[in-house]
Amino acid sequence: MAHYKIMGQDPYWMNFYGLMILTLMEILAVGTDLGPAANSLGTEEKVLTLWILTIIAIPKFIMIAAIFMHLYGDEDSGILTMTALFPAFFILIMVLFVGLTHPNAASGLPDWCRPGNYGL
């Protein structure tokens, strides 16, 4: 249970309002024509949208985990946060090795993997 306040208000309500606003922003970001903005940044609309969505998803993620799931402000928050973060390394490995290795296997070994590159 939360024993603290956010801006003097109930933390659950505040968190709820915050999540609502962020979600609205997400939907607006998708619905709005970001083409010109993307062009001025020298990128595509899709890429810009993805960046906005990712950036909004992070605080949402933290807000739910920290306040609703009591990973902030409780006596046991520290160790439970550590527990929740424990798989991070393994998640990273899976995303790198499974998710992001290109399916069409490259035919060549890059230079940095070659002994010849280091004069060996």
């Binding site: 985990a65 609703f68 160790i79 995303v95």
Partner: protein, 372 residues
Amino acid sequence: MSYDDPHHPSPWGPHDWKHGSPHNSWAPFILSMGVAIFLFTLAGAFKWGEFQGWGKVPLIFVGLGVVGFGLLIWWRQDISFGVNGEVFEPKAAGAPFQNIDIRKVAMWVFLMSEMMVFTSLFSTYMRYRFGIASCQTVFESGEWVEGAAVICFEPASHLIASSWFHIAPGAINTFALIISSFTIVQALRYAKMRDIDEDVRRRKITRYLGTTWFLAILFLTMKMIEWFLGFPLPEFLHEFNHGDSTINSLYTEGYLINADHYQHHEYDTHYLESNGHGLDHDSDLYAMMEAGTHPGGHMMANIQVSATTFYVTTGTHGAHVFGGIIGLSYMTLKAARGGYTPDNAVSIEYFGLYWHFVDLVWVLVFPFFYLY
């Protein structure tokens, strides 16, 4: 007597919880049997997507029925938990979890494995999303001919994020889940309040759990609409929807796991010309058509992999919501009977952790499957 604990002679429940564990229970045996029957019979009813006839369907329900029966036993043993102060909530002894409820630690450990489940699904999605050229790219490259299907990746967001109406069910769901996350935390807050009237507390908990249950049902209903049903628009909105009177479901749009001849009007040069949008003048296809080396036409795509990753990932999330509904049904019932007191309010917290986790997954699923 061979039962492990003479205090609890019945393995069918209910238990006398003052004594703690162990208890004999039939639930594990029956649940396991049910799962096996379900997996076996489901594979009898479909083979490689071909329906094998209705004759084998009742067997699936036998499997589900056995699972349900096992769950009932489990709950029957649990329903007395917390009533009349019969709480058995051991605390952790050793560092670093000292004085944390054991079951809370177990819940977090369980969530670790759930994280890996969704990481696996997301890795699958990333591998295909980045490994297969998107249909838009293939279309504009001109490396296709009318009449032969090309393999390409068509993200569901191309359909879903195409208009405000299409995105509506997903957007409503996002709000539904956030609100339900909030209501479950409210239920926990009232369950923990010691200084209010017992009856008020009972009603508050029941009401908040019931709302959560309702929002979860709403979530799955919206999902049905979005996947299979679609919905009609009131007349004054038609003009905002290219004059169409209905919003098509993904099913109607042909976005299916067996869609090896998928067509979309945006991959049709004739449509693009007649619609005034025209083709992107920078694209190779435009150049090829100008030069007369490409006849244009309607591209056909094999989008089975895209549909598969979409349905299975969001479906796994949906299955978690469904599991939550089953849990919530029991908890609401128990709350209505006054089964939650400040002493065992933690049960709501454990379920809440699971429920928030489902919400967290949606925070990732929604942008990457529905919007991007």
